[in-house]
């Protein structure tokens, strides 16, 4: 990167590309050329910067200036001002919402201050389509080190010592997993990277593959050496076209550089990687289901044991790790187990990437050290709740996780603590909810997802989740009973206890955790036929504020059930029995006279 005086890094993550960041790159290049500056400044499209809320993002090096919400038409200004005159484009700089001050350097932004980037170390810094940039940041040095200096046993030992646990959700010690596969004496073995991220509201793996594909390739090659496999496969969602494209480019470059293929770096180790495509089945995140899918079958899980380390792809020992797990590994080999051990909590080492989303100011992709509290994540990195609303819950672990409340905010985040408070780490979705979110509906939303994604193989998941959904639906329609609650609880417990795979065994978690933490909300739906957050349509009550109503009759005209009465120029009234809760009146009223009261009337 030294040839140029200046670098313009443009975020090429999916979020920013959705907001025309491709065109920004194009325009920047065009303007540089027009002004004859293409020898001085280089435009690089990088992976995700993480701060998706403020995208598209353009970062200028060496001064680390961070431009937010950039439009393609801003290219001219950035070059004319910043590149030519060295003056920052004030209007594009980030403004701290709390201090109302302009922060130009991303290092000083609250969003980045508490983050430690290991898995995302290169995302937003390098051009993911250029292997040289990866190598310039010590890429493939870990592979070289392992191949030249370490036996597979020693390399596995180091990984075990580092305490790295699987980032896909379960938190199984990665070194131990490798050791199991290593000890198996079969001739052919496989390394599989699970990139079938299907958690609704999570895009960690996608961002890593889009922003730094080589880190995953390098780690897979190391894994191949350690367990004795010559073949690797990345099982990736077909819905991730950009990640697939960048991965393909990266694989070709790695082959060209002799970092994949026969006798890597002159060693005896040979390793290559193929792509396999997922086809839209969340259950394929479960490793046995994933393996069946790779074999061309329905992605149904099978009973474990046997574990994939004994009998996996085509019946051969197979080691499956997820993208983020792999992305950590080169850094661990380069910087040592001690370094990794120094980050995190007693039993969870290193960092975790989260996709922070929902009712929060700074939506984005973050990487934080284990042990950070939810409060720090939500209020410091996340910048607090959107529109000044009140925090209600944070959901971690996706459809397998639970909803945590105010009382859990000071819990240090790690695998075990999250489990202890009734949620789980999961793959890294973190959704923040505010006072307008109905927690019964949230549970229903997750169950709807599970019902759709259940493979149908085992009865508790196939039928049980459907029944859970139906019970929740009944409750959100105001028809639930106390007995239904008992049913919900018993079924949830039994499904957890009996389902075949991880999907079913965790699917009732959103129900159990919301029942535990928001018992009063369930009670309001059941006993008062009332939804405190006003989200449940069937339970909404519309009410006309007589002091605001001017009697324009617009509402009574639009009402499909003739529930609104009142004389012209007189305050109108809604008959709650006739009202079908369609909300048409409220939409029509120009005087904000129709409201949904937050308590039952």
């Amino acid at each position: 990167m030294s040839r140029y005086k200046m670098h313009l890094l443009v975020c090429g993550g999916t979020g920013c590309r959705s907001s025309e960041s491709d065109l920004i790159v194009e325009n920047l290049k065009k303007v540089l050329q027009e002004k004859g500056l293409d020898g001085d400044a280089q435009v690089v499209q990088t992976g995700c910067f993480g701060f998706c809320e403020q995208g598209p993002i353009v970062k200028v090096l060496p001064d680390n200036t961070f431009y937010t919400s950039v439009k393609p038409s801003d290219a001219e200004g950035i070059i004319a001002e910043h590149v030519l005159k060295g003056r920052k484009v004030e209007r594009l700089l980030y403004k701290d919402p709390k201090q109302q001050t302009v922060v130009s350097d991303s290092k000083h932004m609250e969003f980045y201050q508490k983050q430690i980037r290991i898995a995302l170390r290169n995302c937003g810094f390098i051009d993911p389509e250029n292997i040289d940039e990866y190598i310039a940041r010590d890429g493939y040095a870990a592979l070289a080190k392992v191949l030249e200096e370490m036996t597979p046993e020693a390399a596995i030992d180091l990984l075990k010592k580092s305490g790295l646990r699987g980032r896909g959700g379960g938190g199984f010690p990665t070194g131990l997993k490798w050791e199991l596969a290593h000890k198996n004496k079969a001739g052919q073995k496989y390394v599989v990277c699970n990139a079938d991220e299907g958690d609704p509201g999570a895009f960690m793996d996608r961002s890593i593959l889009e922003g730094d594909p080589h880190s995953v390739i390098e780690a897979m090659a190391i894994c191949g050496y350690c367990i004795g496999a010559t073949k690797g496969m990345v099982y990736i969602r077909a819905e991730y076209p950009l990640a697939i494209q960048r991965l393909k480019i990266a694989l070709n470059q790695a082959r060209d550089y002799g970092l994949l293929g026969n006798s890597i770096l002159g060693s005896k180790h040979s390793f290559d990687i193929e792509l396999r495509y997922g086809a839209g089945a969340f259950v394929c995140g479960e490793e046995t289901a994933l393996i069946h899918s790779m074999e061309g079958q329905r992605g149904e899980p099978t009973v474990k044991p046997p574990f994939p380390a004994e009998s996996g792809y085509l019946g051969k020992p197979t080691n499956v790790n997820n993208v983020e797990t792999f992305a950590n590994i080169p850094a661990i080999y380069l910087r040592g187990a001690e370094w990794f051990l120094s980050i995190g909590t007693a039993k969870s080492k290193g960092t975790k990437v989260f996709a922070l989303a929902g009712k929060i100011n700074n939506v984005g992709l973050i990487e934080v050290p284990m042990g950070i509290t939810l409060r720090e994540v939500i209020y410091e990195i996340g910048g607090g709740i959107k529109d000044g609303k009140k925090f209600k819950a944070v959901q971690t672990g996706g459809p397998s996780g639970g909803c945590l409340t105010e009382k859990d905010l000071d819990t240090p985040i790690d695998f075990d603590n999250l489990l202890a408070v009734g949620s789980m780490m999961g793959s890294g979705g973190m959704i923040v909810m505010d006072e307008n979110d109905c927690m019964v509906s949230v549970a229903k939303f997750y169950l709807d997802f599970t019902v759709e994604e259940s493979c149908g193989k085992c009865a508790p998941c196939r039928v049980g989740n459907k029944r859970l959904y139906e019970l929740l639906n009944k409750i959100t329609n105001g028809k639930g009973t106390e007995e239904d609650l008992e049913q919900l609880r018993n079924m949830s417990v039994v499904i957890k206890d009996t389902a075949l795979c991880g999907l079913g065994q965790t699917s009732p978690n959103p129900v159990l955790s919301t029942m535990e933490n928001f018992a009063d909300e369930y009670a309001a739906h059941i006993h008062d036929q009332h939804c405190p957050s006003g989200q449940c349509k069937a339970l909404r009550q519309y009410f006309i504020l007589s002091e605001k109503c001017v009697g324009c009759t617009a509402c009574s005209k639009v009402c499909p059930s003739e529930a609104i009465s009142g004389e012209k120029r007189q305050a109108h009234l809604i008959d709650q029995i006739k009202c079908i809760r369609c909300g048409a009146c409220m939409e029509k009223c120009k005087f904000s006279a129709i409201i949904i009261p937050s308590t039952k009337i």
Partner: protein, 156 residues
């Protein structure tokens, strides 16, 4: 059952051959075929079954398992609404309802003129723009229910 034209037959056979007609490559073959034809009707699945020497039931069992595979052609402008959690909590459900109303079709259907098809998907990874709708490859972010009609008009 729709009859296949000979050029289509040749193309499918070529795809199967490129994967060595191996049973284990079924999903790859289906991906490639759907990429080429847009969807996987019965006749196509039967031909793939014959080429890979597996039963048509097995092929259909796989096609009907994965949501990515479709037996119906999509609309000229396929609309996919993200129903990931981030989009959900930012009102994606209302957006779905609005699209259903505006197009007068259900999720999974195509408008009678074949112009639009409506589907839901889970998280496209643009949570910063929630709620998000994809029309073709184009992502439309921060979409509110009342902007749906306006958006559709752009595709008229």
């Amino acid at each position: 059952m729709e009859e296949l034209q000979s050029c289509q037959i040749d193309k499918i056979k070529e795809i199967c051959r490129s994967f060595n007609n191996a049973e284990g490559e079924l999903i790859n073959v289906l991906h490639k075929t759907q990429e080429t034809f847009g969807y996987l009707p019965e006749s196509v699945q039967r031909l793939i079954a014959a080429e890979l020497n597996i039963s048509a039931a097995q092929v259909y069992g796989v096609v009907s398992f994965y949501t990515f595979f479709t037996m119906k052609p999509k609309g000229k402008f396929p609309i996919s609404i993200c129903l990931g959690t981030a989009c959900y909590v930012r009102g994606a459900e209302d957006v779905v309802d609005e699209f259903k109303k505006a197009l007068d079709i259900k999720v999974g259907e195509v408008t009678p003129d074949g112009k639009f098809s409506l589907d839901c998907l889970r998280c496209v990874g643009a949570c910063g723009l929630a709620p998000v709708v994809l029309i073709g490859d184009k992502v439309h972010g921060r979409l509110e229910a009342n902007q749906v009609k306006e958006l559709l008009a752009q595709y008229e």
